[in-house]
Structure formats: C-alpha cells, structure tokens
C-alpha cells in the first residue's frame, strides 16, 4: 500500500479539483452540531469536528428515497406501469468519515447486497462512492469501537485512511478507488511506506488507549435465541424507553425501511423511508394483530437483532460498530453497552 502526504495548505485546492468528477460529502457544522452533508462549492469539510449526531449512512441510504414512479394518466400508453426513477450515480466521495462508520457500511452491505437479491439503489450508490476516512485521534467517552471489530484507525470499508498530523494529513491509499480520488485531487506526494506505517501504528495505539469503554461479546453466539428472548431482564432494560426512533435513526448499521406510495396530480411515486422497530406500526398487521405490541417486545427486538440474530446469521460479530451515537442521543439513556453485557453474561436457568 502506498502512502501520500497532503499539506493542509493544499487540502482545499485538492478538494476543488476533485469536484469536477466527484460530488463531495463531508462534515459541516449547523446549529445541531456536525452533520455529514453534500458540500456546496463554497463548503469544505470540517475535518476536526467531533462525532456527527447522524451517521453517514444517508449518503447511500437517504432517509427518504424515491424508488419507482408511474403515470396514472389513462391516456398514456404506459399508465399504471411502475418504472425505476432516474438516479444520480455519478462518482461521490465522503471525506472525513470515521473508521467505524466505514465498517458499518460493510455490515449494511450484508443486507442490501446478498446472494439472493441486490438492492439497486443502495448497491449503485455504494459502487459510486469513495470513502476517505480520518483516524480518530481522541475518541470520546461513548466510543467503544475497539470492542466491535474496528477501532479509531480501522481500515475496513475505507478507500483511504488519513491521519491528522497537525500541519498535514498522512494518507494511506487502500484501494483503487482511493487512488483514483487522490489522483483527481492532485495529491501525489508519496511518503515512505515503512515510516508512515510505523506512524499510523503509534497513532492507533495512542488513540486506542483513550477508549475506556468496552463490551464483551464473546458469549453471544453460544447463547440460545430462545433463552435470551425469554430472559427476565428485558422489563428493566425497557422501562425508561419512550419508544422514539432516535437510536435506530442515528445508528450507522440500522437499515430497516418502510415503503410508501404517494400520488401527486397524475403521478404515482413509490419511495422508501427509514423505519424503526421501536414503532408499533412496524409490525402492525392489517387485521389489527401486532406480534410486537408492547414496548418491551420492541426494545428486545432491537437488541436481539443487533446482538444475537445478526451474530448468528452472518458470523461477522455484532451489528454495532461502537460509535456510541445511540448512547449519546437516547433521551432516556438506554445504553447498548450495558445491554450487551447483560446479554453476554446471561445464564439460562
């Protein structure tokens, strides 16, 4: 793998050059802290911002996304025939994505790109996107990403991993996509590989030391689904929950969605929206029956999905990358780290 060094004085110029071929996404500040958003030509990514409230999953999986459309105008030959909407699958790059968020995209990929079905909306967006990560030098108190198979300098899912060295970025080019992006920016000052890797290792170790929170997940796969499902602790876990969708919407790995139809004049549109297992509507049958009618059933579903069903189904660890967003944003302080520990340590009677 080759390394390049990017003087911060050249950073904005490089981004500007890349705008000819890429739509650029990155962290920007608004009144609610930092968000990953498309950058208009006058905007540059706020690389040293903290963790964004919302994860970058929306770059590939917008909260509301048009899928199909049809005309309802009976005078048209193709009336009532649904067709995919035109999509913009030109190249895009996400700058300053955190390493755990890149791993999250790989976990989400397991759902949208599987041997039986490929979701073209997600898959095409994924294929068009380059992920330029920035190692997290100072992880925050909610970060437990070293327990989830990644960490502050994890490379998985990234095309480029950069390290912030005050006056410059040191960038490790991990894929061809990453190389193409660096080329488009005109970043071509190579750095010594061995030296650079050593520097990355030091930074990684320093950063990992700052992560004080951890969870054990080693026992989860051995537990029985039914034992965990019937375990006595769920009422306590769920008591404070108000059943809002915050945890699921801020989560980089939550992929569930709803499909809705709307009509405007003579056009029908089918689109999808993020959905949440916290909502009773999620599983409400038309008959009125609801298999997850109570709050505790829904809370249990969220944690069972992330920490047990996913573990069993994919053998890729838990469906959580340890970003801590749900911990920080939950209005009632339900902490997935505590729940994971309870589940991991649960002994059936």
């Amino acid at each position: 793998m080759n390394f390049i060094t990017i003087d911060k004085k050249d950073w904005a110029g490089g981004i500007d050059r890349s705008r000819k071929t890429y739509r650029v996404f990155g962290p920007v500040q608004d009144e609610n802290g930092c968000q990953i958003k498309p950058l208009t030509p006058d905007l540059y990514p706020l690389m040293d911002a903290g963790v964004t409230v919302m994860s970058p999953k929306s770059v590939l999986f917008p909260q509301t996304e048009k899928m199909l459309t049809a005309t309802l105008d009976a005078s048209r030959e193709d009336h009532h025939i649904m067709k995919p909407v035109e999509k913009d699958d030109t190249l895009r790059v996400v700058l300053g994505i955190r390493p755990y968020d890149a791993r999250a995209i790989l976990l989400v990929k397991l759902n949208f790109d599987n041997p039986d079905y490929q979701d073209p909306y997600w898959c095409d967006a994924y294929a068009a996107t380059t992920f330029v990560g920035l190692g997290v030098n100072r992880p925050g108190p909610c970060d437990f990403s070293t327990s989830t198979g990644c960490g502050p300098f994890s490379e998985e899912g990234l095309d480029v991993l950069m390290a912030d060295l005050d006056d410059r970025y040191l960038a490790k080019i991990l894929t061809e996509k990453g190389e193409t992006w660096a080329g488009a920016c005109g970043f071509d000052t190579t750095a010594d590989a061995a030296e650079s890797q050593a520097l990355f290792d030091i930074l990684r170790k320093e950063a990992e030391k700052n992560i004080t929170a951890s969870v054990d997940t080693d026992q989860l796969s051995e537990k029985s689904i039914l034992d965990l499902h019937e375990a006595p602790f769920w009422d306590d876990v769920a008591f404070s929950c108000i059943n809002c969708g915050t945890c699921t919407y801020v989560c980089p790995t939550c992929w569930c969605f709803d499909i809705q139809d709307e009509t405007k004049h003579k056009t029908a549109v089918r689109f999808r929206n993020w959905d949440s297992c916290m909502s009773p509507l999620f599983t409400h049958h038309a008959s009125g029956h609801n298999p997850r009618e109570s709050k505790v059933q829904r809370v249990r579903q969220r944690f069972m999905h992330k920490l047990k069903y996913f573990v069993d189904k994919y053998d890729q660890g838990i469906m959580c990358v340890g970003c801590g967003r749900c911990v920080a944003s939950c209005p009632v302080n339900i902490d997935i780290r505590e729940v994971c520990t309870i589940m991991n340590n649960h002994e059936s009677k």
Partner: protein, 281 residues
C-alpha cells in the same frame, strides 16, 4: 442489475366474489408482457406483492397453481388500504405483481409421501394451489394418499366451492369439508370445527405422512394437539406464516421471527423450526 422492486405489469382479467359476505374476491391477472409470465415461474406455497401504483403493495399467497398457464390468481380479503382499493378495481385495470416471493411447501421432500392438507377460513389459497398441483395428471403419481380437511364458518364462506365439490367426487383425494354450522338441510358434508374433524378423519401419521396447516391462529392452536394425538411429529407439520411485510425480499427488516425473515426464509416453516424461534407472528 435486476431491480427487485419493479413489479410486472398485469391486467385484471377477471374478478369473482369468493364468499357470500363479499369480503373476499378472487382476481385473475394476465401479464401484459408474455415473457414476464415465464419470469414469474412459481411453486405452490409462494406469495407475491400485488402492487397498485400510488396506493401500495400487499403480500398475498398465490392461489393459482404452477400447472395452470396463461394467468395467475389471487384471493384477497378486504382489510386494509390496499386490499380495499383492490376490491374496488375493475376488469381491465392495469396494476403490478412482484414475485414470486418466499419459499414453498417442500415438494421435493413430499414426494412419495402421504400429504394431509388442513385449512380454515380464507387461508386456503396456497392450499388450493397445492391441491391443483398434486392432482395434475403429471404429478399425481408422485404423491401417495392425499387428504384435505377444509372448514369455514358456513357453506357460503368456503372458498373455491365448485372445485371442492368436484374434488369430493374423485377417488384419488379424500375430502373432509366442514362448516362451523349451517341450517341447510341439503348440506351433506361435515359440521364442526376443523380440529375436531382432523382428529376424527385425518390419517394417523407414520413417518411418510406430512400435514400442511394454514388457518387462523385459533384454528392452528387447537389443530396442533389433534395432530400430535394422531402421531405427527413437529417436523411433519408444515405451516405458512404471515407477518407484516413491505419489501418481500428480506431487506426491510420487519417480518422477522428471531433471525428468520418470514418473507424470504419463509413463509413456509415446519413446526419444529417455528418452535425454535420467538413466537412473534
């Protein structure tokens, strides 16, 4: 890349009121593009999303049989927004069908076996598909005895009545038709609930006998002990589950029972499998 969300365009070729209370109608669809019919190759037990542009989609079991060509049939209970809209549609209207989706009854495993079909109320659609499939001259010899227990509230609530009475007359299928009650003096079939009729009439299980059970939860609940009494093991009881679905292809996340997705890993499960998952259906 194939877009699994795009429905095949179909035309409503026929609409038939299926029950005396008019809450069920059977829709016959013809594919607008003949090549789509081939792509829609299905097996008995699968379902599809009926797709009405601007209104929505609804997962419905396929009631026609793979051996019936040139059309597909669905019997739909009017209950929510999409099904109510569908009930008001007319012959000739254009809409969409997406599928076939989900797994099917385990036809490979059922070869050279006795098959007992047990259905109640309007959960008889994929069972009709299965019966027509098994009775097809090309297939009948692949199965041993076929028994069918089917019950509804009243004679007028039985689906596919003409076919039922035709099958009744055949000697290669044992029909046990029942109604909860009727004051029709001409009624010559069973009276009573499905579980009781099963207990009294269904064959005792040996290792070559399988039961396929579809019906309302209350029927299923009481049919299970009847089957157990007759010696059916959990792996010999095959069921089809329903849950709220949207995508039908295992991506939108809502229809799971444990780690299984009813839309993709199901809807057909054995009781043995179901008993190993949380009962969230």
């Amino acid at each position: 890349m194939e877009n699994p969300y795009v429905p095949y365009p179909v035309r409503i070729d026929d609409i038939e009121v299926a029950t005396e209370d008019k809450s069920l109608k059977t829709f016959t669809f013809v594919f607008q593009n003949p090549e789509d019919e081939e792509k829609f190759a299905y097996k008995a037990g699968q379902f599809a999303e009926l797709s009405i542009p601007g209104v929505g989609e609804i997962p419905i079991g396929i009631a026609s049989s793979p051996v019936e060509k040139g059309f597909v049939k669905f019997t739909v209970f009017r209950t929510g927004v999409v099904t109510s809209h569908l009930h008001n549609m007319k012959k000739g209207d254009i809409m969409g069908i997406r599928g076939p989706l989900g797994n099917w009854y385990p036809w490979e495993k059922l070869e050279n076996k006795n098959v007992v079909i047990i259905g109640g109320g309007f959960a008889f659609t994929t069972l009709r598909s299965s019966i027509v499939y098994m009775l097809d001259p090309a297939n009948r010899s692949r199965f041993k005895n076929i028994d069918v227990v089917y019950g509804a509230r009243s004679p007028g609530m039985l689906l596919y009545r003409e076919e039922l009475f035709d099958w009744e007359k055949r000697d290669d299928i044992n029909m046990h038709i029942t109604v909860d009650g009727t004051d029709d003096p001409e009624w010559k079939y069973h009276k009573g609930f499905v579980p009781q009729v099963v207990e009294n009439n269904a064959p005792v299980a040996d290792e070559d006998t399988y039961a396929i059970v579809c019906g309302p939860p209350i029927m299923i609940k009481f049919t299970q002990p009847a089957l157990t009494k007759l010696g059916y093991q959990e792996h010999q009881i095959i069921m089809s589950l329903e849950n709220r679905m949207k995508c039908g292809i295992g991506m939108c996340g809502r229809c799971n029972i444990g780690k299984e997705l009813v839309c993709k890993d199901g809807p057909v499960f054995t009781l043995e499998q179901i008993n190993q998952t949380p009962k969230e259906y």
